[in-house]
């Protein structure tokens, strides 16, 4: 991004929602602030962002002031000169050999005091920390080709500091490796600008550092599923031509790039990403190939496996139906540009990526791209359950076809468990990634999310579900506040995996019972994606569920229109009396 583009992006900032983000550094924020502001504007299109900066040369003081002032997040950019000014290019305190030990001691002490400040700040808001990205000055007596004790000790102190930071909730570290890919180290330092104005970064580096920091502080919601082709993608070779033993993914077969791809897919599946196959192939041959003992992505991690000779987009469509998620949450990987184009045309929201079978370097770049699309901060229990629950959902659909829905639901031993959400990261994750059954499409920062629970009369519950086909885990979040006999709901989402089990009805019934309210007021907003939520509301509000506003549902009306429910309810949810 050029500076002019960044300023244009900032100029377009608008929105009712407001966020304040701190940029905390010891240098002049100057263009780094502009680029961070611009990347925040691109990340939060509907939000007015107030970017706050601190005082020149006072990183620690800036951290302290940000803690006192509060905010929605902080980006902390550290340079060596913040750890000891003698490590910068603007100081003239001497690079004599006898000062080196003292500099190391100073860096050690400074890193310890930054520890405490960062930890304190992270209790109030999420913090992204960028480690020094400008090289050390030429102060050691050793030739630059040789790594010396002084430099190694400084790097060891820095590594220890960063490792301690990485262990804290609420602190995320900007990846130095990823930053180096976007901004090579020897292109980062603008010496002239550093000496002239105290701003050490070249424009391209300021942009890369800003982009990485914003992505680290406010990661984009990860995609949910990946659909892969087989021939020349998951493995090398055309299965129909070379047979089950002829396809390969190994060094010996000169097809290691496919092994790398399989390993990444297996790792993604481990973290709850859905993996499916869409391939024009012979189903029996595919089944046999996937059973090979050397496969690195076992068939147990793939569902569904859509193999036929039909059009590729139809196979992809069947995967969407099974997963019940939108195309814009999915990546499709195929070696054929024609297949990619055909799928992209049918499903404009899907991200289509080409697997380049003859270019291992491009395959590795693709793998990094996949990590970027699917990366998440933590792997939860629900991530482990997801694939099995989708597999299990296919069974009820088939069984259900024989009888009425009510009859079927009465026989599946469904259990619904309500619990206070507290600081449950799953609740935060669900609210920020659910589109279809979502009351109003609102997304929250961590600070906004915590603030919801501090409102007078506030409640926030997670809802878990299981039946004889298996557990779905925590699949819904319900939140709001109670005021006299009224209950206001402004957070309500449910995973698409939990549809058609009447959990939404049971949730409302439990909310009435729990709060004793005679009326629930839903803060509803239609979005492009929340059709399933609107369908639910249409039962109670036949004419009013298409425009933004408050929908009022009385308990007697609810019970009159509610279908028979068969869930066994485990209520572990206590609404705090102090609220």
């Amino acid at each position: 991004m050029r500076l002019a583009e960044a300023l244009r992006a900032i100029g377009q900032l608008a929105g009712e929602r407001k966020m304040s983000v701190h940029l905390l550094c010891g240098c002049m924020p100057l263009h780094l602030g502009t680029f961070i502001h611009a990347h925040l504007a691109l990340r939060f299109a509907d939000t007015y962002i107030d970017l706050r900066t601190g005082l020149f040369g006072d990183l620690e003081g800036n951290l302290q002031r940000a803690y006192q002032n509060g905010g929605d997040g902080a980006i902390v950019v550290i340079e060596w000169s913040d750890l000891d000014p003698r490590l910068g290019f603007r100081a003239s305190a001497g690079w004599r050999n006898e000062t080196l030990d003292d500099i190391v001691a100073q860096v050690h002490d400074k890193s310890r005091s930054l520890d405490a400040r960062l930890l304190e700040l992270s209790k109030k808001m999420p913090v992204a920390v960028a480690a020094p990205s400008i090289e050390l000055p030429p102060m050691s007596y050793l030739p630059p080709s040789q790594a010396g004790h002084f430099e190694l000790r400084l790097n060891a102190i820095l590594a220890g500091f960063l490792e301690r930071m990485a262990g804290h909730d609420g602190i995320r570290l900007v990846s130095g490796a990823t930053l180096a890919m976007a901004s090579p180290p020897n292109t980062r330092h603008d010496v002239r600008m550093d000496l002239h104005a105290g701003f050490p970064y070249t424009l391209p580096h300021a942009d890369a550092l800003a982009e990485a920091s914003v992505q680290c502080l406010f990661p984009s919601p990860p995609k949910k599923g990946i659909i892969t082709d087989l021939d020349q993608t998951l493995w090398n070779g055309i299965l129909g031509d070379v047979g089950v033993d002829g396809v390969s993914w190994s060094l010996e077969g000169k097809s290691q790039a496919h092994a790398l791809y399989q390993q990444v897919l297996a790792s993604l599946a481990d973290s709850g990403i859905l993996v499916a196959v869409a391939s024009k192939n012979d189903p029996d041959l595919v089944n046999a190939a996937l059973q090979r003992p050397d496969i690195l992505l076992p068939p147990s991690q793939i569902f569904p496996i859509e193999v036929s000779w039909g059009v590729k987009s139809e196979a992809v469509g069947r995967v969407f139906e099974t997963w019940n998620i939108g195309a814009d949450s999915v990546v499709f990987v195929d070696d054929s540009p024609m297949e990619l184009a055909e799928v992209a045309e049918k499903y404009p929201g899907i991200e289509c990526l080409r697997f380049p079978p003859d270019d291992p370097a491009a395959v590795v770049a693709l793998l990094w791209q996949l990590r970027a699309r699917f990366g998440k901060n933590e792997v939860l229990e629900e991530d482990r359950l997801r694939l099995n629950s989708i597999r299990a959902s296919a069974a009820p659909r088939q069984e259900n076809a024989a009888g009425t829905a009510a009859d079927f639901l009465s026989r599946i031993e469904a259990k619904v468990t309500l619990e206070a959400a507290g600081a449950d990261p799953r609740a935060f994750e669900l609210v920020n990634k659910t589109n279809q059954f979502n009351l109003n499409g609102a997304r929250y920062t961590e600070v906004e999310w915590k603030a919801l629970s501090r409102r007078p009369g506030a409640f926030l519950a997670t809802i878990s579900y299981e039946d004889r086909f298996g557990p779905l885990g925590r699949i819904a979040v319900l939140g709001g506040y109670k005021e006299n006999d009224l209950c206001y709901v402004d957070v309500w989402v449910m995973s698409c995996r939990a549809f058609s089990r009447q959990i939404e009805f049971q949730s409302v019934r439990q909310l009435f019972e729990k709060t004793g309210a005679f009326e629930i007021r839903f803060r509803f907003k239609p979005t492009d994606r929340n059709g399933p939520l609107r369908s639910f509301f249409a039962r109670f509000f036949p004419t009013g569920s298409s425009v933004e506003g408050e929908l009022h549902l009385r308990s007697d009306d609810f019970e009159r229109l509610c279908p028979p429910l068969f869930h066994q309810v485990h209520d572990q949810w206590t609404i705090s009396e102090k609220n």
């Binding site: 002019a4 300023l7 244009r8 002049m28 600008m193 104005a197 424009l203």
Partner: protein, 76 residues
């Protein structure tokens, strides 16, 4: 010359988004409170991008009006 003025105006539009374009010609650090040292650096960096030149900040240090900047760019 018109080309320089047009490009310089584009830089002003970004550096001083609240300034009415009719006032660019008479704009200077003396009559604009928002034209401080940070704005000067931003403006010079935008000029560097717009004109595809590496700007020597010291050389442009005294160029703190539209007119002075236009003159300095004509000389270079």
């Amino acid at each position: 010359m018109d080309n320089i003025r047009e490009k310089l105006s584009r830089c002003f539009a970004l550096a001083f988004p609240k300034l009415d374009p009719s006032q660019y010609a008479t704009a200077s650090a003396q009559n604009m409170s928002e034209w401080d040292s940070i704005a000067q650096l931003t403006l010079l960096t935008l000029i560097g991008e717009e004109f595809g030149r590496e700007i020597d900040f010291e050389e442009f240090e005294g160029a703190t009006s539209f007119e002075a900047l236009e003159r300095a760019l004509q000389v270079q």
